[in-house]
């Protein structure tokens, strides 16, 4: 017998709704500083690089920036702690995009901190190669941080000039959530000075067996534990489960507004697509049309959030189907008999869908693109071994898994550039299931390089120093990167 769907997960949603990302924007402060004497900001990089690998510039051309401690006004320990958190998170956020070269804070710890840009020890900063220094002051207003943030020139030709001066505060900078304040400052700073959409406020969803609870509701022959859907900040902070049904819950997908998750669950005893809101306690919907003779899974949202594409056995074999989020308008867009069509991903405009198919023969999973209306099929990879999980970025690049196994790696094909293909991961462990950050500059994926299956992020350049571990506990699979800052 099936047990009723346990509503435990819904309470997590309520907790999420109370999280800072969901707070109203009222009383949020982000404004130029009154005293600001804005100069020319650092040059914005080219918006449309011809080679997507060059969209991340090398260290040689990144402005070198120092980020010392902020000056804390008053002897408030909570304020001091929150400010320290903010500065450390801000360093990580700014380092993540590689628009700037962030000088390691350890190597600048001995340089005196000043509140006034004019009295910076410029010689000390020049000595370690800084071109700019961030000068910050932090004070407490109610329960919130109030931050003055200045980017000050150090290089001879710009010494002492404030090239960016901004004021952040209000409820978005609550003392107890200094991480979010740092994320906001980082995204705002990247946008205003480099024209780049940072991803510091985005989130990751994935499946994890960390709870170790045995499957319930139905006997399973394997001894493994159930897997729950988890979410986390892009940097791995604030990990929390959003399902708690002790069953198998895989392949979460963020809706474009980051308010809903679609995922594949076996909670009814067979594979089906579930959609649930993170911000209310309504039970999940099942737009793919639950049917215990059919398996539906691996859903992907259209960019406008109105539709889901998913893999289904409705026709008797695996095809890609599209349905409106309310369950209407269900139709088969691949309709190819006796083949596995699987793992759909939408193009940035929503006009096309990429997917995998083994229609050219067993053990020959290739990537195809078809119009969202089912017309205009074309094959993208040829002779690819073990090709799987395409993910289509905002920069029109498709990343995917490939490899004859047991080890796989992440590759990417640049649709702007004659389908030129590059390898992203370097053969350490097995690497699977890529998902693009909304700005197309980073991937999250699953790797076994540290033993168990863990979610990691890496820049599209594949540079080793951009690899960051996101999960630590249990086995974690099927990452999916939110499109927009969570709850904004």
């Amino acid at each position: 017998m099936m047990k009723p769907y346990l509503p435990a997960a819904l309470i997590v949603a309520a907790a999420l709704a109370a999280a800072p990302t969901a707070r109203p924007a009222a009383a949020w402060i982000s404004e130029p500083l009154q005293s600001s004497t804005q100069q020319q900001p650092p040059p914005t990089q080219s918006q449309q690089p011809t080679d997507f690998r060059l969209s991340l510039v090398g260290a040689g051309t990144q402005p070198k920036v120092g980020l010392p401690d902020f000056t804390v006004e008053g002897g408030d320990k909570d304020l001091a702690d929150a400010t320290m958190t903010l500065v450390n998170v801000l360093w990580d956020d700014l380092d993540f995009e590689k628009e700037y070269y962030l000088i390691p804070r350890k190597s600048t710890a001995s340089i005196p901190v000043v509140a006034d840009a004019k009295s910076l020890p410029f010689d000390r900063w020049k000595e370690i190669g800084a071109e700019y220094v961030i000068v910050g002051t932090s004070k407490r207003i109610g329960d919130n941080l109030d931050i003055e943030f200045r980017l000050v020139g150090v290089r001879d030709d710009i010494q002492g000039k404030e090239v960016f001066s901004w004021h952040y505060g209000g409820s978005g900078c609550a003392l107890k959530n200094a991480r979010f304040c740092a994320h906001f400052i980082s995204d705002d700073f990247h946008k205003k000075t480099r024209g780049v959409d940072g991803v510091a406020r985005t989130k990751l969803a994935f499946s994890s067996d960390r709870d170790g609870a045995r499957m319930t509701g139905r006997q399973i022959s394997g001894p493994g534990p159930g897997k729950e859907v988890y979410i986390a900040d892009y940097d791995g902070a604030n990990q929390m489960p959003v399902t708690a049904n002790r069953n198998l819950n895989l392949a979460p997908a963020w809706s474009p507004d980051a308010r809903d998750l679609a995922y594949t669950s076996w909670v009814s005893g067979y594979m089906d697509v579930y959609v649930r809101s993170l911000f209310d306690a309504k039970p999940p919907t099942r737009p793919a049309g639950s049917d215990n003779n059919v398996e539906n899974g691996l859903a992907a949202w259209s960019p406008d959030g109105s539709k889901l594409a998913f893999a289904s056995t409705k026709s008797g074999d695996w095809d890609i189907w599209v349905v409106n989020r309310d369950g209407t308008g269900l139709h088969n867009i691949t309709n190819y008999p006796k083949a596995i069509d699987n793992a759909p991903t939408w193009s940035p405009t929503g006009a096309q869908i990429a997917f995998t198919s083994d229609r050219t023969g067993s053990s020959s999973n290739q990537i195809y693109i078809v119009g969202a209306d089912g017309v205009g099929l074309r094959q993208i990879t040829f002779g690819c071994q073990g090709c799987d999980r395409p993910t289509w970025s905002s920069l029109n690049v498709i990343a995917y898994t490939a490899g004859a196994g047991p080890g796989h790696d992440i590759y990417a094909v640049d649709l702007n550039n004659n389908n030129r293909t590059i390898q992203i991961t370097d053969g350490q462990g097995s690497n699977e299931s890529p998902t693009f950050a909304p700005n197309g500059r980073h991937l999250a994926f699953v790797t076994t390089r540290w033993g168990k299956e863990q979610v990691a992020t890496i820049a599209i350049t594949g540079k080793k120093d951009t690899l960051k571990r996101v999960t630590e506990v249990g086995n974690n699979r099927y990452p999916n990167w939110s499109h927009t800052p969570g709850g904004q």
Partner: protein
């Protein structure tokens, strides 16, 4: 409706009965631990062909429980049946859903059991080894379960008694990383889910 203060309860205690308005005592774990089924000592370890000698031995005789019935299996719950099942798993070659002679023999035997116990409703689970990608294996596992189901239907069993479900590579029987383990994991497995 769920009250906001419920938010503060630790997650492990959040197992509530659907639709209930008041908090229930937390349920910390399933009250009955179901032991995993017996291992497959003879699962194909070479990956290619399978000989009858490699197959798992016949299930041990069911001990006499002292019940009045002459067939103790008939009175057992699905959980007890599955813990020492007379339904044999079927094994597959790498990236294949084809049934070889050994697999067909196992399915013939399973069909005889299912004809004898005509009240059993079963789910055929399709499983894969870890080598393929997670997404592809969800589909391959379904193909394996369907291959077994279709063979049983060809032997005259009712489709209404047989559901299929794929678990991809999510539930390996043997967590090892060698062909010996993988061979045990590429399987269709038969679970009694209910009695009609």
């Amino acid at each position: 409706m769920l009250r906001p203060q419920t938010i503060l309860i630790p997650l492990v205690a959040l197992v509530l009965v659907a639709g209930c308005a008041t908090k229930k005592p937390p349920v910390s774990a399933p009250t009955t631990q179901v032991p995993p089924p017996a291992p497959f000592p003879g699962a194909n370890q070479s990956g290619g062909t399978t000989t009858p000698a490699d197959r798992p031995p016949a299930p041990p005789p069911v001990p006499d429980t002292g019940a009045v019935t002459s067939d103790p299996l008939a009175d057992k719950s699905p959980e007890d049946i599955n813990s020492n099942s007379p339904l044999k798993p079927v094994f597959f070659a790498f990236d294949s859903d084809e049934l070889d002679d050994v697999a067909r023999q196992a399915l013939n035997d399973n069909a005889q059991v299912l004809k004898k116990y005509s009240t059993w409703v079963i789910a055929i689970e399709g499983h894969c080894d870890e080598r393929g990608t997670a997404e592809y294996n969800l589909a391959l596992g379904d193909r394996r379960a369907l291959a077994a189901k279709n063979f049983l239907l060809s032997l005259g069993l009712s489709a209404a008694r047989i559901k299929t479900v794929s678990y991809g590579k999510e539930f390996p029987f043997d967590p090892g990383h060698t062909e010996a383990s993988w061979a045990k994991n590429r399987r269709a497995q038969f679970m009694v889910t209910a009695k009609q």
